[in-house]
């Protein structure tokens, strides 16, 4: 190693047998991140993920903006799941400021966050399809997610960057007749995604491609601190909507999907099962939601916390547990804001899973980690 150069630029020792291959950082092969793999023939002997190509400094930016103006930029790391990435932040600010949220707003949040989870998962599934060379599986989810995007557009006014959750509730009340439209669309959506079983999940080619590749044992899933679908595909029943219910999840009947295999197939199937479960949750929430009432507590301008305080809130996002640690020093801006995102936490499993795997299986393993590069980089 040459110590004069910065670590990433240092010259590597060349082995005649081992070849070093840079995968990425171009989309869509690796999705704005680089995976440095060392291969021996067709087999991966070592893998070094190199994220950071889409690092935007969200945490630093948050220190310069107050609790309200932080909302639109904090959802940028994962715009397809923007309600869920704002959720822990908003819950945290509410605890810091001591705000009680109206009941109807809590239900609206649950509906929005479940719709968003489906929108994100459909996008993820579309890319998983194209990663495996299954172009129909790219077209179908990309088309069907428009159903839910339309719903969210009616609800929030924006197609993807909703900025709908605010401390104290949600920005707007539901439009008239939303419940009926939502119920109809969600029922149709559920019928559509059930068809994916025949074309994708029961497809022998997909099973041959993903079953028994990248197996993560239960013990390792826990030790590596993975989360979300990766964890639940390895047989650990841990879904924050059940384990630490936030807002009104404790009043809803939530079923968490667990599989024992821990391979790429299980990791790709859990998000799909979660979408079916989301449809159930949305139907329950529509039924139980108070039909009228306030959806937002008005705040004073420049709301601030009471002196030195900190709060850590977490929610179950499309990619697993999403935590937000806010340190307040009594000013209108957070003193420090940290997003602990599922993508970043699951990335640690990648070198572990790819070791000994064939190079051709890399896309199947990598994307099954439910990894969103932009979110991991923040």
């Amino acid at each position: 190693m040459n110590n004069e150069l910065p670590p990433g630029l240092a010259l590597q020792k060349v082995d005649e047998r081992i070849m070093t291959l840079n995968v990425g950082p171009q989309h869509p092969g690796s999705g704005h991140m680089r995976i440095i793999v060392q291969i021996d023939g067709d087999f991966i002997v070592a893998c070094d993920p190199d994220p950071g190509y889409v690092h935007r400094g969200e945490e630093k930016m948050a220190e310069y903006r107050n609790y309200i103006t932080n909302i639109p930029h904090l959802e940028r790391p994962v715009i397809h799941d923007s309600c869920n990435i704002l959720y822990p932040y908003v819950l945290g600010v509410e605890e810091l400021l001591g705000i009680e949220v109206p009941e109807r707003a809590k239900y609206i949040r649950v509906i929005a966050s479940e719709l968003n989870r489906c929108v994100y998962t459909m996008y993820w599934l579309a890319i998983y399809g194209i990663f495996l060379g299954h172009s129909t599986m790219f077209m179908w989810p990309a088309g069907d997610r428009e159903l839910l995007i339309d719903l969210l557009e009616k609800m929030t006014g924006a197609r993807v960057t909703h900025a709908h959750f605010v401390p104290g509730g949600v920005r707007n009340d539901l439009p008239p007749n939303f419940e009926d439209v939502c119920l109809r669309q969600v029922n149709y959506f559920e019928k559509r995604i059930k068809e994916y079983a025949a074309i994708f999940y029961d497809n022998p080619i997909l099973i041959a491609r993903t079953a028994n590749t990248g197996v993560l044992s239960r013990q390792d899933a826990i030790r590596l601190g993975t989360t979300g679908s990766v964890l639940r595909a390895s047989g650990v029943d841990y879904d924050l909507r059940k384990k630490e219910p936030y807002d009104v999840y404790d009043e809803l009947d939530v079923h968490s999907n667990v599989m024992k295999e821990g391979d790429s197939y299980a990791r790709s199937k859990i998000p799909w099962l979660d979408m079916l479960e989301s449809c159930n949750i949305i139907r329950q929430a529509l039924q139980k939601m108070p039909k009228s009432g306030s959806v937002r507590v008005k705040l004073k301008p420049n709301p601030k916390g009471k002196g030195l305080d900190s709060v850590y809130k977490r929610v179950e996002s499309g990619r697993g547990s999403l935590g937000c640690y806010i340190v307040s020093d009594g000013k209108p801006e957070p003193y420090r804001l940290k997003l602990s995102v599922g993508s970043f936490r699951n990335l640690i499993a990648l070198p572990y899973l790819l070791k000994g795997e064939k190079l051709g299986n890399m896309p199947a393993v990598y994307w099954s980690l439910n990894y969103w590069p932009v979110e991991a980089d923040r």
């Binding site: 670590p7 950071g52 601190g225 507590v297 420090r336 640690i348």
Partner: protein
């Protein structure tokens, strides 16, 4: 515009619920600490006594402040005796006025179902240097990677963002920043964003 006068002005309107009056501040002593969390905190105090400080005990959250020499021992105890098995998040917080950088581990448990709601916050502080030379100055902490494998990437991120070197970490390389980044560690308070 001064924000204080705005507050008074707005508070008189009817549709505002002032946050400060809603959460009526009760005197410290009357707050009853949640039982389960109190029990956990007591176990830790019983073992380590004055070497640690319990900063708060809230519902589902306990925070413990530890000196940098004891952090490994406390973390081992948390893992082996109290069954915390992974780190959810590791954050750095810069305190230039104290000349210290705080590193905060949020620990959780998947295996122990009684702990599934709990997050144990383990905080320790490293000495802060005015002119940092990341890796080669006094800003160092023992790494918890041997104890909680899941902190590996989190600690790498803190090394580049705050310049805290983790002793015993096998891989103290850059993670998110460019390889040729030659400025201050960017999440320190003295690294200012242009135009702000």
């Amino acid at each position: 515009m001064s924000s204080d006068s705005d507050d008074e002005l707005i508070e008189t309107t009817s549709d505002v619920i002032p946050a400060s009056t809603k959460a009526s501040p009760t005197p410290e002593k009357e707050i009853e600490l949640p039982k389960f969390e109190k029990g956990l905190a007591d176990k830790i105090v019983e073992k380590f006594g004055t070497r640690i400080k319990v900063a708060f005990v809230k519902h589902d959250r306990i925070r413990i402040d530890v000196g940098r020499d004891d952090v490994k021992e406390v973390a081992t105890f948390l893992r082996d005796v109290l069954n915390f098995d992974h780190a959810e998040s590791v954050s750095g917080v810069d305190y230039p006025q104290d000349k210290e950088i705080e590193v905060v581990y949020h620990l959780g448990s998947y295996t122990d179902s009684s702990l599934s709601r709990q997050i144990l916050v383990l905080a320790t502080r490293a000495q802060r240097e005015e002119n940092p030379i990341p890796g080669n100055d006094a800003t160092k902490l023992p790494s918890l990677r041997e104890i909680f494998y899941s902190v590996e990437f989190h600690e790498r991120e803190i090394f580049e963002m705050f310049g805290v070197y983790f002793q015993g970490h096998p891989d103290n390389r850059r993670l998110l920043l460019p390889e040729d980044w030659a400025d201050l560690p960017p999440l320190r308070k003295d690294f200012a964003i242009k135009g702000r």
